[in-house]
């Protein structure tokens, strides 16, 4: 299909010539834009010009000011200084409605659509097709299906949104923005929860939108995506714009140095420890989503589980943890067969699980940091049925200090912390507990480089005390650099096992993807 086809689908009729018309003149320009909260700068006065039709990546650690910038541009929060020019005209951007009216839209990491409505209803939400005040259901489903087909998404428009994977929902959210005449579209870490295939579909969609003249701002922690997608990249650090580079003139090391003044070797810091006794062994363990998994974890060892999302890794570890029942096979704990029937059994043995989703599984967001940190150990903090408040506070303070969790007080709600600091709580609550086996499921998703490095250093500390670690990650460099033993999962089975760095990235990836390589959708621009 051509741009024109795509453009005709979109509400505002994006004109393909727009891209050529003003390739160099900025579509959106910031002059001295700043945001202060009670005297502290979340964003220091910033000058930045977005060229019309470019893909502009923005990178930086958590707290560097990326979210503040997005919120300012989408009218979610008011600025405290400076000016914004939209096609040369000063604009207020005081409300989200005004931003959308100009064509400024954002696609967020966590999908904000209605899970109980159909895909078609979501795409047309707020702009329903009506006749005589009645909805034209069939018309909307047909239109939506056409949009999905054109974008190469193999999805039925009448499906319930909530029945789709997070990745598919993300694609729908993007398609929705695309059909609404977005001229300036901000992606906030869109691939955090996507599989590789979904990620590639999203990239193809982004490129297609760019070709039709939409300016894209792309925020991500994943460097390889930035280099794959962006034309230019801006780096933020501590609320300051450190610099903007053409993607051709820079490299990953330079960007990371700009973000943190630290090199990549220092991030994946790995100490080797002598491997001790076997802590955990599974023999032909099967359950919902995985089959015949046999592996061991020894003292001082990091066992990496690599695979695509949905490969059965999370199901395997949550079953070991007692969240789901196993269907067959055995689990041995320090040489003895154990029957872990619920989470409590696993915790009692000394297994700790930092789950995949902080929001849904890891934290009580509305409750204090100290409660979250102490949740697994309250039975130990109670004496004669009563909790010792001093012990409760000192335990929490110790973790806050040791892990350098940035929070105003221990009684601040977990929701008020940044993503990286929330992740530290999810991990930190098990440190008080003193477990022997730590399971980390995607511990660094949505976490900035600095916090990543801290989390990896924490791994070393745990290993040095004789603990074992199971590390699940969809980010290959992470497991590759850190795992002593790396198991590759595909479709619920363990398809390969490698010792530390004994295989190449390509080998591992091929194993994870299976014999048939992933099939990216054609970009449609040929």
């Amino acid at each position: 299909m051509t741009h024109q086809d795509f453009a005709s689908q979109s509400g505002n009729g994006i004109n393909a010539t727009a891209a050529m018309m003003a390739a160099d003149s900025p579509i959106l320009e910031l002059k001295g834009l700043e945001k202060q909260y009670f005297g502290t700068h979340a964003l220091k006065p910033t000058d930045l010009a977005f060229k019309s039709g470019e893909i502009h990546a923005i990178v930086g650690e958590n707290g560097a000011g990326k979210s503040t910038l997005i919120k300012l541009l989408t009218g979610v929060i008011p600025r405290t200084g400076g000016n914004v020019y939209w096609r040369g005209e000063p604009v207020a951007l005081g409300t989200p409605v005004e931003a959308i009216k100009h064509g400024i839209n954002a696609v967020h990491q966590e999908v904000v659509l209605c899970p109980h409505l159909s895909v078609a209803a979501n795409i047309f939400l707020g702009e329903e097709h009506q006749r005589f005040g009645l909805l034209r259901h069939r018309n909307m489903v047909r239109e939506a299906q056409k949009i999905l087909d054109d974008l190469g998404f193999d999805l039925p428009a009448h499906a319930m949104l909530g029945d789709l994977t997070i990745g598919q929902q993300q694609l729908i959210a993007t398609a929705r923005a695309a059909t609404r005449g977005a001229r300036f579209l901000i992606f906030d870490e869109p691939t955090a929860y996507l599989t590789r295939k979904e990620g590639m579909q999203l990239f193809a969609l982004i490129r297609r939108m760019q070709a039709s003249g939409v300016t894209i701002v792309y925020i991500s922690h994943r460097m390889e995506e930035v280099f794959e997608l962006a034309d230019r990249v801006s780096v933020l650090r501590d609320g300051t714009l450190v610099g903007t580079r053409d993607i051709a003139d820079t490299n990953e090391n330079e960007l990371i140095a700009m973000m943190i003044n630290r090199s990549i070797e220092q991030i994946y810091h790995k100490d080797s420890f002598e491997l001790g006794k076997t802590i955990l062994e599974t023999r032909n363990l099967s359950g919902k989503g995985f089959e015949n998994i046999s592996l061991t974890v020894r003292e001082g060892e990091v066992v990496g589980l690599y695979g695509l999302i949905g490969a059965g890794r999370s199901e395997f570890v949550t079953t070991v943890f007692g969240r789901h029942p196993k269907s067959s096979g055995t689990v041995l704990w320090q040489g003895e067969e154990v029957n872990i029937r619920r989470e409590k059994d696993a915790i009692k043995l000394g297994i700790a699980l930092a789950p995949e989703s902080r929001r849904d599984q890891g934290l009580c967001l509305s409750l204090p940091v100290s409660l979250n940190l102490n949740l697994p150990v309250y039975s130990r903090l109670s004496h004669g049925g009563l909790i010792s408040k001093t012990e409760e506070s000192s335990q929490a303070d110790r973790q806050i200090a040791d892990l350098r969790i940035k929070t105003s007080t221990r009684s601040a709600s977990a929701a008020s912390l940044s993503g990286g600091n929330q992740q530290k709580i999810v991990i930190g609550k098990w440190l008080n507990h003193g477990a022997k086996l730590f399971i980390f499921d995607e511990p660094t998703v949505g976490v900035d480089v600095g916090t990543k490095a801290e989390i990896y250093r924490l791994f070393s500390a745990l290993l040095s005390q004789g603990a074992g670690i199971i590390l699940i990650s969809s980010y290959l460099p992470e497991v590759y650099e850190l795992a002593d033993t790396l198991h590759v999962f595909r479709r619920g089975e363990m398809v390969a096992t490698h010792q530390f760095k004994s295989a190449s990235h390509e080998d591992i990836l091929t194993r994870a993807l299976g014999s048939a390589p992933a099939n990216p959708i054609s970009s449609g621009e040929s």
């Binding site: 943890f321 969240r323 989470e343 409590k344 915790i347 699980l353 789950p355 849904d360 599984q361 890891g362 934290l363 009580c364 967001l365 509305s366 409750l367 204090p368 409660l371 102490n374 949740l375 697994p376 309250y378 039975s379 903090l381 109670s382 049925g385 009563l386 909790i387 408040k389 506070s393 000192s394 303070d397 110790r398 806050i400 200090a401 929070t407 007080t409 221990r410 009684s411 601040a412 709600s413 609550k429």
Partner: protein
């Protein structure tokens, strides 16, 4: 271990909670002052004792209800349980049971109802609203079936005198609020089960993965609520001297209203014991004052509704600003 986290003596959240409690207290005192000035009958020993008795029962219901709401649930059955319990205790006394036995059996029945609610939610997967709504309607029916629609009168003076008597010049019924309130406060603020009620209300899955026995926590909340309600049923029986399954109609809504006025969030994970107690006495004062001022009793209901909106709105304003 060096700790470089600065913890103010009173955290902002705690300060807000204290402020909120004081505001409720001030509201109560202002109401009392206004009523004292505008009527001659308000500040009489008789009326104040009456007010405390009226408020006491809703207050105890509200405390039980609050446990449930903190877990993110709701208990619609407390009024029906109270009515049912008044019938049971009256029947037992009429059949010659000693008071202590009648009271214990009635509380035991309340416990059973609470366990049933827990079972329905945890094992059958029913929403709290549904299971307790079912109990609300069927308990009244069961009570009517048992009594055949008759009212059971209580001839045991020791039992009925309890609500009329004072201790240290304060009505016995009000002492019951303290008897329930103090352990409830300790449970909620100073035990791990109190922490678990909040954590389950905030995020049940995260709690489960942290080793919290979520099911047991839910059983606990509904059992406490039902036991409080059956206790209130007993107090109600002492106060009016009869047992009737249709009594205490609509009290579940007054209990929920008291809890909400007292700062409990219907979304769960926010609540206290002292708030709902104050909320219950504010409602009782409004009803009492309206009676004294000869305000049409229909208006009392309207005023209660407006008050709920105003107080919860102010609380919302605070949250939104954060």
């Amino acid at each position: 271990m060096s700790v470089d986290v600065k913890e103010p003596v009173i955290s902002p959240k705690k300060r807000y909670n204290i402020l909120f409690g004081l505001t409720l207290l001030a509201l109560l005192l202002v109401l009392w002052l206004i009523l004292g000035l505008s009527t001659t009958t308000f500040w009489t020993t008789n009326n104040i004792a009456n007010l405390l008795r009226q408020g006491a029962m809703i207050a105890i219901l509200a405390v039980g209800q609050t446990f449930v709401i903190i877990t993110g649930g709701i208990d619609l059955s407390v009024g029906a349980i109270a009515g049912f319990a008044s019938t049971i205790v009256a029947l037992l006394l009429a059949n010659g049971f000693p008071i202590w036995a009648a009271v214990l059996i009635t509380l035991g029945i309340g416990l059973g109802i609470g366990l049933f609610h827990g079972f329905g939610i945890v094992k059958m997967g029913l929403p709290p609203f549904i299971i307790t709504l079912a109990t609300l309607t069927s308990l009244r029916g069961i009570g009517l079936l048992i009594t055949n629609g008759a009212t059971i009168s209580i001839n045991n003076d020791d039992f009925t005198n309890f609500s009329r008597n004072d201790f240290l010049a304060v009505p016995n019924l009000f002492w019951m609020v303290i008897l329930v309130g103090i352990p409830a406060y300790i449970l909620l603020q100073h035990t791990r089960w109190g922490r678990y009620l909040f954590s389950v209300g905030s995020n049940a899955e995260a709690s489960r993965l942290s080793g919290v026995n979520v099911n047991r926590t839910i059983y606990l909340a509904y059992t406490l609520s039902a036991v409080c309600a059956s206790f209130v049923g007993i107090l109600l029986a002492t106060r009016i001297g009869v047992g009737n399954p249709t009594q205490a109609e609509g009290w579940e809504l007054q209990a929920i209203a008291s809890s909400v006025i007292g700062g409990t969030s219907l979304f769960g994970a926010v609540g206290s014991v002292q708030g709902p107690l104050l909320g219950a006495f504010i409602l009782a004062t409004i009803n009492n004052g309206a009676n004294l001022l000869n305000v049409n009793s229909f208006w009392q209901r309207v005023i209660t509704g407006v008050l709920i909106i105003v107080i919860v709105y102010f609380d919302q304003l605070r949250r939104r600003r954060k």
